[in-house]
């Protein structure tokens, strides 16, 4: 009888999980991983004979397994607290922050990024009256690696390689204006309410005054950043805040990619898979921000990655117009079709993560 009870117990668990997997309706997306989940593959003779059906079914079975997030957490907790692994899927926890271990330093990637910047300079800026600046945004691993024994790329070499490689643009060091507290716990990005010092440093170096009469707004929805899902560890979500200035009422943001006017901040994005898109609409190839009440008549052209989405609103009080270009989506060769270079300030500002994986820069 004892053996029968053991067999029946194990069978109940096993067949119960199987039955659950068979009948559970398929989910469309994984909110924690910010990606689409595999769906049941189309049945075709070609697919079956080529093995493609089996491969797609494997993905489907894993992606749609019931209690998937719970199981991912079990694995992450086992890895971290039983196996004593210092990272899980390349993400580690330190001081309450989920941090991606950026390692090793990819010199060829950074050289490629430098080449792209120099190409843009040579093609559009060399014969203009523009003033060129370059800056690097450190990722969280820059601040926390040593405390976790985590591997860390040679940030000093990266900064030197960019500073020396981008010969015609003045390097602005912002590392001294940031600490780990300025970043989200669950996301790669920085917290806009903590980077006014960065904006002041950049504007100051470019000779532009800024209005600092900020008002802080807190978004009610919790913010689960990209590392929250990847780490699959129990971390408290962040509170997302954004800053406004009196002049924002008159500021117009043009999304030139889609030909429409968009808000500076869109809280509706908090309910999407990419809440950080709250700032300037997220991943857009070309945006302009116009401010008739700017403190100067100067214009700024920024070549950027996603970090700049939250930074640019803090600079608009000093500039009549900011043009924001993302060459991950708009090839450098085509930038001249949309942007006229004359006497503006031009800022290249990229995060260490993008520089170390720069192949998307076009």
């Amino acid at each position: 009888m004892r053996v029968r009870i053991q067999v029946i117990t194990i069978a109940l668990l096993f067949f119960g999980l199987a039955l659950f997997a068979w009948i559970k309706p398929a989910d469309a997306v994984s909110d924690s991983e910010l990606r689409k989940l595999a769906q049941f593959p189309e049945i075709s003779m070609d697919g079956i004979l080529s093995g493609e059906f089996a491969r797609q079914f494997d993905d489907y079975a894993v992606d749609q397994f019931p209690l998937r997030e719970k199981f991912r957490s079990i694995k992450a907790l086992t890895y971290t607290y039983v196996y004593g692994q210092l990272d899980n899927n390349g993400i580690y926890l330190q001081d309450g922050y989920a941090v991606k271990m950026e390692y090793p330093y990819d010199e060829s990637s950074v050289n490629y990024a430098v080449d792209r910047i120099n190409y843009i300079y040579d093609r559009y800026l060399a014969d203009s009256q523009t003033k060129c600046y370059v800056s690097i945004i450190p990722d969280k691993n820059y601040y926390l690696a040593s405390g976790h024994w985590a591997l860390s790329m040679d940030y000093g070499k990266m900064i030197d390689d960019v500073r020396i490689g981008v010969k015609n643009c003045r390097y602005i060091d912002i590392t001294d204006t940031l600490t780990i507290e300025d970043y989200y716990h669950t996301d790669t990005h920085w917290d806009q309410s903590s980077i006014t010092g960065v904006a002041e440093k950049l504007a100051g170096e470019m000779g532009t005054p800024l209005d600092d009469d900020y008002e802080i707004h807190e978004v009610t929805e919790p913010f689960y950043g990209v590392y929250y899902g990847q780490a699959a560890l129990p971390i408290e979500p962040d509170k997302m805040k954004y800053l406004t200035l009196p002049c924002f009422d008159k500021v117009i943001v043009n999304d030139l990619q889609n030909g429409k006017v968009i808000p500076i901040y869109d809280e509706g994005k908090m309910k999407t898979r990419s809440p950080y898109d709250l700032f300037l609409g997220g991943s857009l190839s070309l945006i302009t921000i116009e401010n008739e009440e700017a403190l100067t008549d100067k214009e700024l052209i920024v070549f950027r990655d996603s970090y700049a989405s939250s930074l640019m609103p803090l600079l608009i009080s000093g500039y009549k117009k900011i043009t924001i270009v993302d060459i991950r989506y708009l090839p450098s060769e085509r930038v001249g079709n949309f942007v006229e270079f004359s006497d503006q300030d031009v800022l290249f500002i990229y995060s260490t993560s993008v520089l170390n994986h720069s192949s998307p820069l076009k």
């Binding site: 004892r2 053996v3 029968r4 009870i5 053991q6 067999v7 117990t9 194990i10 668990l13 096993f14 067949f15 999980l17 199987a18 997997a21 068979w22 079956i48 004979l49 093995g51 089996a54 491969r55 079914f57 494997d58 079975a61 894993v62 397994f65 998937r68 199981f71 991912r72 079990i74 694995k75 992450a76 086992t78 039983v82 196996y83 004593g84 692994q85 210092l86 990272d87 899927n89 390692y103 090793p104 024994w149 985590a150 591997l151 699959a232």
Partner: protein, 481 residues
Amino acid sequence: MLFSSIPFLFYFLPTVLILYFLAPKAAKNAVLLVASLFFYAYGEPVYVLLMLGAIIVGYVGGILIERFVGRDAKKMERSSASKVVLICAIALCLGMLGFFKYANFFVSNFAMMTGVPVQILDIALPIGISFYTFQIISYLIDVYRGSVPAQRNFIHLATYVALFAQLIAGPIVRYKDVASELKDRKSTWDGVLEGSRRFIIGLSKKILIANVLGELVDIFRNSTGETVLFYWIYALVFSLHLYFDFSGYSDMAIGIGRIFGFHFPENFNYPYISASVTEFWRRWHMTLGSWFRDYVYIPLGGNRVGKARWFVNILIVWMLTGFWHGADWNYILWGLLFAILLVIEKAGLLRVLEKVRFAGHIYVIFVVFVSFVIFNASGIEGMLSDFGGMFGMAGLPIINDETLYYVRSYTVVIGMALVGATPLPKFIAMKLRNGLIVFGGNKSGELVWSFFETVVIAALLLMCTAFLIDGSFNPFLYFRF
């Protein structure tokens, strides 16, 4: 299809178990055969035809051999016709294996030696071909020797060859070991519990240990910051990885077989506690070792020949053992290394090692490390590069931050693997069970133990599921052998 995959665990296996236990006795083998063909065809549908061809060769060959052997089979008198059939059938099986597994090896070596440009063939190795080919050959030889009667029921023979439990990575089951169970077997509650326990333990060895160690192997292979210490850690980790991967698969195969009422042979017996290479090979991949002993070494004359011929026999057997594992020179060298060590041990070293067992353990661990570095190298060039790194001839630093990081990160799992590769966990479990019985009495002690065991099995199943869901690609190492 992989055992360690969600489709197998939660779609295929439950379906097969339900159909199998609902089917009448006469249809059980048919259920297993259809399920096995589906299992095999799942990822590589075309090659199921190749396997069916091999089964037909074995089926027809066995019947013809028996027909031509003559009635007085027990006197070991064999007609030349039966020998011709045997040779033809084996040649057909080995021909298929040779073409799909070794053609490119021979073609590329021919091209290298002659300088004649030859097109490399675009053929993929059918999974499990080495295993099922050897099973069919052993069946044919056993029929020829009169050890077993030819199987006239095609479904029975096809089930023996294609049974998904052991089809793609062993153990290599002899027909005579399961002949009676193919015809008549019984699944008992005890057998199902034992099989389930064995399967989950094997699954855990694969997913919770081998796959995690495999991550470190991959990290090492992709690292640009190698050190001497990292090379040695790689040698240690790969040795453990291979053991847990392969023995885990064998455990799963034996466990599934047990659920269906089969008793498959053991394939591993704690090889890393060996004190000599001779002992190691009595504990590692036991079904392959005994296959080569019975079907190659002894027919060549074994040790009942002159010393020179005996030495040649050993070289042949171990060269073939290496070559069976892979079509490259490093596998042949790997086999020959063991041949030389076994000859040295038989020449006198074994007696010394038996007296100083501690030294024997150190010696075996060193040999295993070196041999598996050869085994996992990318050809001869890769092997030399790995040895250069291990023995400080590549100008690498002894240690760096990257090595230290991974040592810290993987210490626990390496420790778990080191302990798990010894009989210690089994010993502790037995002690615990006996302690419960002594402390709580026979009935209560067994009850507590059963509860504890069930909880552990359930927890391991859930953990394996969690690891599979979070993980991605995790092929078994022995699939392609």
